[in-house]
């Protein structure tokens, strides 16, 4: 008997490509928005790393939507627009995606506190990596206060970002189910 199942599968509609592309676009827009936030005197020189919150959340909950170059492209966009070190954030973001590949299963079984603790480690790692590379390449140590402020604000905003992203995700799922 000829297998006919494949003719009824929604192969084209189930493709992850459009979503993977959208994730990259949204991440880049968030990186641009980060730069926009710097226009606020409060965040001058140290904006929250919103793109990292987004990347972390997507890598944790939607691993199939995280393309191999997602972290790289979001990071490089951020580097090209606002940083002196092209590739520093991109490298750190690739590492984050890689780390999440390893840690995902454990984190998905844990509660929110575990996720937050993991995010603290990830954010500290990303900023510390940039700090070390920057200091080594410029042979000078930048002011520490903005660095600490940036980490602190990002960590404080993480739960808010997490809840917003989860809510939006649930809303999307509802729309998909009903349609």
């Amino acid at each position: 008997m000829t297998p006919r199942g494949r003719f009824f599968q929604k192969a084209e509609l189930d493709s992850n490509w459009p979503f993977q592309f959208l994730i990259i676009v949204f991440g880049v827009v968030l990186a641009m928005f980060e730069g926009g936030l710097a226009l606020w005197p409060v965040f001058y020189g140290a904006t929250p790393i919103l793109s990292l919150i987004f990347l972390f959340w997507v890598a944790l909950h939607h691993e199939k939507l995280v393309f191999l170059v997602t972290g790289f492209l979001i990071g490089i966009a951020s580097d090209l627009l606002f940083s002196d070190l092209i590739g520093a954030r991109a490298t750190a973001y690739i590492a984050v995606v890689f780390l999440m590949d390893i840690r995902r299963a454990k984190l998905q079984q844990g509660d929110f506190r575990d996720v937050w603790v993991e995010f603290v480690a990830v954010t500290t790692g990303v900023v510390l990596f940039q700090f070390l590379v920057f200091s080594a390449l410029n042979l000078a140590i930048p002011a520490i206060t903005p660095v600490l402020f940036q980490v602190g604000v990002t960590l404080i905003l993480f739960p808010i970002g997490y809840v917003i992203l989860t809510t939006v995700n649930m809303a999307f799922n509802r729309i998909r189910v009903s349609s």
Binding site: M32, F33, G35, L39, A46, F82, L85, I94, L137, A143
Partner: protein
């Protein structure tokens, strides 16, 4: 685990590693300051700056609203302050007129060189420094408006920075607070030369002051014009703290509230801005000179 799955994981890991190596090498390539990379970056900025501007619009809107509310709340106090400031400015204007006349007479005696003619071009700041690792800002004017690399960027309060990259319609300004910004300056009252160095923070540090120099808190720090890239006499900041050998300077411009800036175009003819060698730029001061006004002094230390 199936063999195909294992192969997929291996492929993914190899791709990851290659990507890490690629982006890591980008950092070093970026530091080499290659022309190709610089122009690629500016082309990218030219393309994305309008989007950044669009995305920043809500933030700018909220900021304007907050400022509006604040202004209304402090209108009465502001009026009293402005009246007092106006009276003070009138006194200063009278004094400036007297000093200007005195200055003109002294110049004719000392034979100092008249500052180069520079044309101000007004530009809007599209971004602000968002990270702790670079203090640069994109401004909405570029090559098409005559902007060149090395053009000084100022506001009415003083120096903001220097144009470091120019695209067709956008330019990137290295602010004086950036760790790579080193501005040759003099202390206004004593005329001792030094160099302000940023640290990607709020303040600058004043270095390479002669041992005899005794900077005072509140003393104005001006550009010396040494090297010819920056005009002389533009306020950079005021001495904020003096502790042993450490001198801290608060920038004259509130860099957190930049909206419009003036780019001073021209006046750098004959200076190779693409190859500013450190030894050419920071030439030792001419010891035989009786004056410490450096404008018009070329790399060899001679007056042009």
């Amino acid at each position: 685990m199936r063999a195909s799955d294992k192969a997929k994981i291996r492929q993914r890991r190899i791709a990851h590693t290659l990507l890490v190596v690629f982006s890591f090498s980008l950092m070093f390539l970026g530091k080499l300051d290659l022309n190709a990379l610089r122009s690629a970056r500016m082309s990218m900025n030219d393309f994305t700056a309008p989007f950044v501007d669009l995305v920043s619009a809500p933030v700018r809107g909220v900021e304007t609203m907050v400022q509006g509310i604040r202004t209304v709340a402090s209108l009465r106090a502001e009026n009293v302050r402005l009246q007092a400031e106006n009276a003070l400015l009138k006194r200063w204007r009278r004094r400036a007129e007297i000093l200007e006349s005195e200055n003109r007479q002294l110049r004719s005696v000392a034979g100092a060189v008249t500052p180069d003619r520079r044309q101000p071009v007004t530009a809007r700041a599209v971004t602000a420094p968002g990270g702790a690792f670079a203090h640069t800002v994109l401004v909405a004017n570029g090559r098409e408006q005559g902007i060149e690399r090395g053009n000084p960027v100022v506001t009415a309060d003083g120096l903001v920075g220097l144009v470091v990259d120019v695209g067709a319609t956008y330019a990137r300004v290295l602010m004086i607070s950036d760790i790579n910004a080193q501005i040759p300056v003099i202390l206004s009252s004593s005329s001792w030369p030094g160099v302000t160095v940023g640290n990607n923070g709020t303040f600058l540090s004043l270095r390479f002051l002669p041992e005899e120099a005794a900077p005072k808190v509140g003393e104005l720090v001006l550009t010396s014009g040494h090297g010819g890239v920056l005009p002389a006499g533009v306020p950079v900041g005021r001495v904020d703290l003096v502790r042993d050998d450490f001198v801290r300077v608060r920038p004259a411009v509130d860099l957190r509230h930049l909206s419009y800036v003036s780019i001073l175009v021209g006046g750098t003819e004959g200076i190779d801005l693409d190859n500013l060698a450190l030894e050419d730029y920071y030439t030792p001061l001419p010891e035989t000179e009786g004056t410490r006004l450096f404008e018009g002094v070329n790399a060899a230390g001679e007056r042009q």
